[in-house]
Amino acid sequence: MTDDRFEDELERAAQDYHRPPETPREEIWARITAERARRREARQAILFRPWVRWSLAAAAVLTLGVGIGRLTVPHGTADTGAAIGGRTGSDFAYRVAATQYLTRTEALLTDFRAEARTPQGGRPDAQFAAQARDLLVTTRLMLSSPAAKDQRLKSLLEDLEVMLAQIAQLAADRNGHDVEFINQGLDQRSVLLRLRAASPAPGTSARGAL
């Protein structure tokens, strides 16, 4: 048989492959209407969840702290660690929010890695992506703050920005390879180790990178 003949026959025979029935227009439209209403309500409900309220509050505090930090850190200060971590009252809000940010980021990345390694894992829940987006905003605020003058902390924040951006994008189109890639990045860059070193020890006055 010639190629053309084969292709004609193939096309004809393939018409029966998964031959669609008549489109159930009204049923699908009803589902679309119901699902859009459900998602609208869910979005509103999310805004009232405690962790969202907390995140918004933390971001507001951090924004305020960054602003205060910019005003109070002397220009040309080399020892930004001292400037940021000093005992002045004006940077207290900044330090509290930054510490909470580091703790939350560490918790998210630890949970992400644990979830990806479960037997049925490899595709962590979309909530990780939502939290990563939230933390990504804070990370960028941190990079704009005096804290970024500390090279060690700046390097960590830049790595966190990449990791969080990757996790934030998983919701739309995630697959096992992407998750594996992120976990490899976490390991290769020792992100969690550096994150823990930067965070103040709980219940102590130690500052870490802050």
Binding site: M1, D3, R5, F6, E7, E9, L10, E11, A13, A14, Q15, D16, Y17, H18, P20, P21, T23, P24, R25, E27, I28, W29, R31, I32, E35, R36, R39, D173, N175
Partner: protein, 180 residues
């Protein structure tokens, strides 16, 4: 009402315009979803999600392509990701030898051409199968396929050629029947 006006009305929140847009495109979206999924419930789900995303993202539609092209790129993304997620087509990327081996072992138990063909299409790699269904079954042009899948036109042509070659190879013993 032309397309631009329809889009403007949907953006303004006009429910009747949304329904008009839906009516204009739902058949084609559902048909493709069904061809890819082979399951009515999945096809409904993919169609539903396609329009929900389209309505949500219409503000970002810049009119650089036709609305149908834009809508179909969403539909393809929804359907292909949905199928991957469901792991029903995990072995889609199986190599040629493995696909042939499966086809050969089923030859005696499934002598019917349509079932053999369906199985051979199922066994095509995802990209080949998608292009074959869109072009040879649903009648899309290579330009439409390229836009919907965000690939080059040449890639679409190459994948169709490879899909046909693979089907020809797998169905070689049926070639005689088609000449009778």
């Amino acid at each position: 009402m032309d397309e631009r006006e329809l889009i403007a009305r949907v953006r303004a929140g006009d429910p009747s315009a949304e329904r008009t847009l839906y009516d204009a495109h739902v058949d084609r979206v559902y048909r493709v979803a069904y061809r890819l999924a082979g399951d009515d419930e999945l096809a409904r789900e993919f169609t539903q999600e396609t329009f929900i995303r389209a309505f949500a993202r219409l503000d970002g539609f810049r009119g650089e392509s036709a609305l149908s092209t834009w809508l179909h790129s969403i539909a393809m993304s929804v359907a292909l990701n949905g199928l991957r997620k469901m792991k029903r087509f995990r072995r889609r990327e199986a190599d040629l030898e493995e696909a042939d081996a499966v086809a050969t072992t089923r030859r005696e138990s499934e002598p019917d051409l349509k079932r053999r063909l369906a199985h051979a299409i199922d066994e095509l790699p995802e990209g080949y199968r998608t292009v074959f269904l869109l072009h040879d079954v649903e009648g899309y042009t290579h330009e439409e396929i390229a836009a919907a899948l965000d690939v080059e036109t040449g890639t679409s042509k190459a994948q169709l050629s490879r899909a046909r070659a693979k089907l020809r190879e797998t169905l070689a013993d049926f070639a005689g029947e088609w000449t009778r």
